[in-house]
């Protein structure tokens, strides 16, 4: 899977990541109100996705690896969702 193109591709990916980093820092200079965090997380997730797919070669891996790579994200979502549901619905009824 390594060929003459591989290194060039890595370089392009790196450029893309640098570009996204600039965007992240730039976006933080503006106040989007409640969208601040979602925007930052969106960009971070694109960066993370790019690293995982290209640097970590997730795009060449089989379905089982994909399941193991994504299932913890779902569990993390559960942990946050359930505990937040508790903490933010404690208002006295």
């Amino acid at each position: 899977m390594v060929n003459s193109n591989t290194y060039k591709q890595y370089f392009n990916i790196w450029l893309l990541l640098m570009f996204l980093t600039v965007i992240t820092v730039g976006a933080a200079q503006f106040d989007f109100g409640s969208l601040n965090i979602p925007i930052a997380m969106l960009i971070a997730s694109i960066k993370a996705g790019v690293v995982a797919l290209h640097f970590m070669h997730l795009k060449y891996e089989d379905g089982m690896t994909w399941i193991f790579a994504t299932y913890p994200i779902f569990l993390l979502f559960l942990l946050i969702a359930f505990s937040a549901t508790d903490i933010f619905t404690r208002v006295v009824n």
């Binding site: 089982m64 942990l79 505990s83 508790d86 903490i87």
Partner: protein, 533 residues
């Protein structure tokens, strides 16, 4: 590492002395060492529980003072949970059996397997050191008590953190082994149910343990660096600690019970001479439990100050998990229908498992129902419920496994008669200890109480007397197992159709000289009926 490739020497004879064991890569030797280790910790924690029960012989002080009592129940809980029952069946019999059952020469990462054992030993040593300055928080380490107490919490929690690594590494090893090393013909729908259970257990170990790891790390940080997540005095939320803790510890309940369910699913078909009833239901429900068990942790927290909405959500999901468990019980039961049942010691433990686990499961319904849980939470009812599942379930499953695979593991035969006497005592003793505790609980006796009002004395005394019967049962069982009556075991004394019985007892170091090819299910018992075909 000297690895003899001879297939005519058994794994027990392949090298002697400390080094040949402590540096072995052989999954069977590691399994055996885990079995010894968990056995020793079981005895240690059991002694603590006998002292606890003895203390309750009379209200007020009987033998120890309040602080010692708190240390004792913490010791009992923490050692039982983290050193005995979580590694428990999975690490011991999982290691011993999985490669044999899937037709492999070892687990996929044999060196890593040895490292996990070492990490387990390291964690255990930390625990033992921590006994010198023991913690008094209970095994749940609830904040802010665990932040405030003057007792030594850091060492114990660090021990749990280290043990978590062992759990994770073993889990990864099993999952990848089952994925990559199944013998030709051993498709997923032929995989022995013990392997299914171990697979689901491993998934839980891998995915749940890190969360308790970070939680305990943060708890250490709270004590050491003054972090404030779980301390109400600093704006933190102690209930959040409970969320994090039970996010691990509820799946951990299934880490404890699933392997035992796997064992039952192996033992009952052999001694009923029938294929397991509802193979797919049992296999898939193991996997389903591995997923759903992450969704119900809040039922440990109905009166913790959780919001009403989340209580209701958790209660609904809890009842949803109850149904697959009920289905499993009926599947085991119906495996015996029209069978040819032989009441060996292993089978007796399995049958007792079904009955006691049923009681444990049904009493779970009380605790899942919101209104009833408000009354029963943190009373002896919970203590009894938990022990019916953990002893009646896991420990009876473990005992069943110890008796069933005894010939395979040691190449010897034990005295069935003595083992059955031990079983009767253990079964009766167990029920005398824990059944009265249900009533203590409904009457309102809170758990973790050093002192109690005299109205509870009779039930407490009955419970304490039960531990003595239980103790005698354990001793007889140990005697029966440590004094084999024959030094020669057949390859397959129970005529099992499973792969591990197809090789000599005990098996050679590398198990299979030639990797077998499977052509039929491992539950190939009985004659096919016309209408079934």
């Amino acid at each position: 590492m000297s690895q003899s490739h001879s297939f005519d020497k058994s794994y027990l004879e392949d090298g002697t002395g400390f080094k040949s064991w402590f540096f072995t890569h052989d999954h069977k030797r590691l399994g055996v060492m885990y079995l010894w280790a968990i056995g020793i910790f079981f005895i240690l924690a059991a002694i603590a529980s006998f002292l606890i029960r003895f203390e309750h012989l009379t209200p007020g002080q009987t033998i120890v003072d309040a602080q010692t009592y708190n240390v004792l129940f913490t010791l009992h809980g923490a050692v039982m949970v983290f050193l005995f029952i979580v590694p428990g069946v999975a690490a011991s019999f999982g290691n011993f059996l999985i490669p044999l059952m899937i037709g492999a020469r070892d687990v996929i990462f044999p060196k890593l397997n040895l490292y996990s054992f070492w990490v387990y030993c390291a964690g255990a040593i930390i625990f033992l050191i921590a006994l010198a300055a023991p913690a008094d928080t209970g095994w749940t380490f609830y904040t802010p008590y665990s932040i405030d107490t003057g007792a030594n919490v850091i060492l114990v929690t660090f021990g749990v953190f280290v043990l978590g690594f062992s759990s994770i590494l073993t889990g990864i090893n099993f999952i990848v082994s089952i994925h990559k090393l199944r013998a030709p013909g051993l498709t997923w729908d032929r995989l022995p149910l013990f392997c299914w259970a171990a697979y689901a257990t491993s998934l839980l170990q891998v995915l749940a343990t890190p969360v308790v790891g970070i939680t305990l790390l943060l708890l250490i940080g709270e004590r050491y660096f003054g972090l404030g997540f779980f301390d109400p005095a600093k704006g933190g939320d102690p209930v959040l600690f409970q969320h994090f803790f039970w996010f691990y510890s509820h799946p951990a309940v299934y880490i404890m019970i699933l392997p035992a369910m796997g064992i039952i699913s192996e033992v009952i078909p052999v001694f009923s001479r029938k294929p397991i009833f509802g193979y797919k239901a049992i296999a898939y429900s193991s996997l389903a439990i591995a997923l759903i068990s992450f969704l119900v942790w809040g039922h440990h927290m109905f009166v913790s100050g959780q919001s009403k909405l989340i209580n209701i959500i958790f209660s609904v999901i809890t009842f949803a998990v109850a149904v697959p468990t009920a289905i499993k019980v009926f599947n085991w039961l119906w495996t015996m229908y029209k069978g040819s049942i032989e009441l060996s010691a292993a089978m007796l433990y399995s049958l007792a498992f079904i009955f006691l686990f049923t009681i444990g499961g049904l009493t779970g319904l009380f605790l899942g129902a919101l209104a009833a849980d408000v009354h029963l939470h943190d009373t002896y009812f919970v203590v009894a419920h938990m022990h019916y599942v953990m002893i009646g379930g896991t420990v009876f499953g473990l005992f069943s496994a110890i008796h069933f695979w005894y010939p395979k593991m040691w190449g010897k035969m034990f005295d069935e008669f003595k083992a059955k006497i031990a079983f009767v005592l253990i079964f009766i003793g167990f029920n005398i200890v824990f059944f009265p505790q249900f009533i203590l609980g409904t009457l309102g006796m809170p758990r973790r109480y050093f002192n109690y009002s005299p109205e509870f004395a009779t039930l407490h005394q009955i419970s304490t007397y039960g531990t003595w019967i239980l103790g005698i049962g354990f001793i007889i069982m140990l005697y029966a197992l440590l004094r084999p009556i024959s030094n020669k075991a057949e390859a397959n004394p129970y005529k099992s159709a499973s792969l591990e019985w197809a090789m000599p007892s005990p098996p050679p170091t590398l198990n299979f000289e030639k990797i077998p090819t499977l052509t039929a299910s491992t539950y190939d018992y009985g004659t096919k009926l016309e209408q079934e075909a």
